[in-house]
């Protein structure tokens, strides 16, 4: 009897590498995987078949679609996104998404199949050196050639992906490791000797920062995705409310603070708001929280906030003094830092200084916003569509955008009441990101309205994912802002290249018919009077829906800080 029992326990522990992968994923609470099978990952897909009850696998139409979907899922839920692909082309098709996740700090675990370890380096069928290829764009990667390495490798992968400043991790598993056997004992990873994800908070730096903030006459807060990744939205709001400091967001910081919050003064950077750009060069203390001074935010560094003392709060020591010199740097976890900072900060309200922002808002309203949101004539503008969506969703929708003019307009004008509601490709600017990311966001948040706003160019870069939306019956609402141009490039050609429209005009197919082919309802409009009804129809439709809006072909996005110019040279026309 005793012998029999031991045998059963043994059977339970002893398993295959492929099975161990699935068990590890389940131990890490993975319930959704995006991927695409192929030869070198077949044993893992076979194991997946066995665990269908525990783990859902979404078959995309391209590996790039799979990874963007995982990114959308991760950004919408705060969980680690999981992707699977086969060796060779399967793995290389992930690279754009991995690079995107790296630069936008998105936690991902990518699992790729690899040829058998005896074939490594032999130019075997579908062999690529994905470890070397992915090295510069992963936070960590590792090749597993023996089944018994799998539990530890996967535990480390999840820990590294989600801890500290998150990022993508790739685990490459040779076919023999998938077939091999091991005793499966899984322990979550909690520490790695050479890895310190959260630097220790230095209280003396923090008190110096608080002192500077307390003495400031014209303090200005710039916040980024660090606030969202650190789950510190509440602490951030309490801090700015106590200190009364006007606060502007980076593209990825969007939705961390509700749009209608009185201290939310708008967006920073190239197509950001007028006041935040102008007043960057007027403030006396610049307080950067969880942001990295991207060149699209700063414009010309030589003329960026030279008058101000700069305080930089970040979790990543390598961000300090990378682009903008900090007078005071405070490293640490965003939430912890903000709680402590709020304790040391004095109550304030800065009424005169805040009035300056309002003055700039009025100018922008008059010269830019009105024309964009309430045009009296001409073709429908992108802003009108976004505004029309706002009227229906009241700030509750989750917005996913692609890259280009529509992205800037949608992020400028969409209203948000809650965090993790804007998902876009920021750092890498990956066209084709939106459609699959929206699918992932909706699958992670089925109860929320997810609206994908896409340009006609980006839509066609991953249009095949309509097939995944169709097969999974995911109720993503797709809004195509169609100007038959690669609009942002065309805008630059108009403004900086004498209107020489080199390869930017597009002859597009009938998008509604394409959607119909995938069983997705749709409508195309180009008349202003149809707009609101069409938006209502889309939102009330049960299931996915595609709304194509023909917008002004040669409309431009303003304000604009021309490339290489100073933020104070922001143009309104």
């Amino acid at each position: 009897m005793e012998a029999l029992l031991t045998q059963q326990v043994d059977q339970n522990i002893k398993t295959t590498g492929a099975d161990a992968v699935l068990r590890a994923l389940i131990a890490e609470e993975t319930s959704l995987i995006f991927g695409y099978p192929g030869g070198a990952i077949m044993p893992i897909y076979d194991a997946l078949y066995h665990y269908q009850e525990e783990v859902r696998h979404v078959l995309t139409r391209h590996e790039q679609g799979a990874i963007h979907a995982a990114q959308g899922y991760a950004r919408a839920t705060g969980k680690v996104g999981v992707v699977m692909a086969t060796s060779g082309p399967g793995a290389t098709n992930l690279i754009t998404g991995i690079a995107d996740a790296m630069i936008d700090s998105t936690p991902l675990v990518c699992i790729t199949g690899q040829v058998g370890s005896n074939l490594l380096g032999s130019d075997a069928f579908q062999e690529t050196d994905i470890i070397s290829i992915s090295m510069p764009v992963t936070k960590w990667n590792y090749q597993v050639t023996k089944a018994e390495e799998l539990p530890e490798a996967l535990a480390k992968a999840f820990y590294i992906a989600k801890s500290g400043r998150p990022g993508p991790v790739l685990i490459d598993i040779t076919k023999d490791a998938q077939f091999g056997s091991l005793e499966f004992i899984y322990e979550k990873c909690e520490v790695i000797r050479s890895y310190r994800p959260v630097p220790k908070l230095e209280l003396d730096q923090l008190s110096k920062a608080a002192e500077l903030i307390n003495g400031a006459q014209r303090p200005f807060v710039l916040f980024g995705q660090g606030v969202i990744l650190g789950n510190a939205e509440k602490e951030f709001k309490i801090f700015i409310e106590k200190t009364g400091i006007p606060s502007a967001w980076t593209l990825l910081g969007l939705s961390a603070l509700p749009t209608d919050h009185p201290l939310n003064v708008g967006m920073l950077g190239m197509h950001g708001n007028y006041g935040p750009n102008k007043l960057t060069n007027e403030c006396d203390v610049l307080i950067a929280i969880g942001m990295r001074f991207d060149d699209r935010v700063t414009g010309n560094l030589e003329t960026y906030a030279k008058q101000a003392k700069v305080i930089h709060f970040d979790i990543d020591p390598a961000e300090i003094n990378k682009n903008v010199k900090a007078d005071i740097a405070v490293l640490g976890d965003c939430k912890e830092v903000l709680v402590e900072l709020t304790r040391l900060a004095r109550m304030n309200s800065h009424p005169v200084w805040r009035e300056q922002f309002r003055e700039f808002t009025r100018i922008e309203e008059e010269q830019v916003v009105k024309k964009e949101l309430q045009p009296s004539q001409g073709q429908i503008t992108m802003g009108e569509v976004v505004n029309g969506i706002n009227d229906e969703t009241k700030g509750e929708a989750l917005l996913v955008t692609d890259v280009g003019q529509h992205q800037m307009v949608a992020c400028r004008y969409t209203k948000f009441n809650q965090s993790k509601s804007s998902i876009t490709s920021g750092g890498l600017g990956t066209m084709g990101f939106c459609l699959p990311a929206a699918l992932g966001a909706k699958l992670g948040n089925p109860e929320r309205e997810v609206i994908a706003v896409i340009g006609d160019g980006g839509f066609q870069m991953t249009i095949q994912e309509l097939g995944t939306i169709f097969q999974t019956q995911t109720a993503v609402k797709i809004v195509i802002l169609n100007n038959s141009f690669l609009g942002m490039v065309r805008q630059w050609q108009q403004l900086f290249f004498d209107k020489r429209y080199s390869s930017t005009e597009m002859e597009n197919p009938d998008f509604v018919t394409i959607a119909k082919g995938y069983g997705i309802e749709g409508k195309s409009i180009d008349d202003r009077t149809d707009l609101q009804n069409a938006i209502q129809e889309m939102l009330s439709h049960d299931g996915s829906y595609l709304l194509e809006v023909h917008v002004g072909k040669e409309d431009n996005v303003f304000p604009m800080v021309p490339s290489g110019a100073s933020v104070s040279e922001v143009r309104l026309s």
């Binding site: 470890i131 070397s132 090295m135 510069p136 936070k139 960590w140 990667n141 090749q143 590294i160 790695i192 000797r193 050479s194 890895y195 990543d316 020591p317 390598a318 300090i320 003094n321 990378k322």
Partner: protein, 174 residues
């Protein structure tokens, strides 16, 4: 202004880490002057010594990015006067051309070099020192029919005791 910096990197011993580290130089269009990897005095800890010519600003940022890598325990950079460093060079010369007794003696004495191996056709001279010193001997030997020359990467230890202790302190917590 560009200067020569020695970067010392202490890492776990894992496959591919060399690639990960050198790609960070490639990405910044930096040419590596020399590179050496070896064990360190700490069990399981490997040590990279990389010499690169760049600005103080750039090296500071680069080292922070290197230290950020998951398998890097610590990365530091120094200027030449803050470290003690050596390189080794081997010279293969025709025995006949330097066989004049006086010349060989002068060569060995003046250069603190030594003869590692002597064959009928060739001999191998070894010299350790800074690059300028091994270079000087190279120039000296050129007229005598130098057959082969090779110089190692720099190895370097840092002078300040606190820095040597810092890593030990970090690791001992594990």
């Amino acid at each position: 202004m560009e200067k020569s910096f020695t970067i010392s990197i202490f890492t776990e011993n894992s496959i591919g880490l060399l690639n990960r580290i050198t790609s960070m130089f490639t990405r910044r269009h930096l040419n590596i002057d020399s590179l050496n990897t070896s064990e360190s005095e700490l069990a399981g800890v490997h040590r990279f010594t990389i010499v690169v010519k760049t600005t103080a600003e750039q090296v500071k940022k680069l080292v922070l990015q290197i230290e950020k890598q998951v398998e890097v325990l610590r990365a530091v950079y120094h200027q030449d006067d803050e470290t003690v460093f050596q390189e080794i060079a081997l010279y293969k010369v025709s025995t006949k051309s330097v066989a004049d007794g006086n010349l060989v003696e002068k060569l060995i004495r003046d250069n603190h070099a030594r003869i590692l191996s002597m064959e009928q056709d060739f001999m191998i001279i070894e010299k350790t020192g800074h690059k300028e010193e091994t270079q000087e001997l190279l120039e000296f030997l050129k007229p005598y029919g130098l057959i082969e020359f090779v110089r190692s990467g720099r190895v370097s230890v840092m002078k300040p005791m606190e820095e040597s202790n810092e890593l030990r302190k970090r690791i001992s917590n594990f």
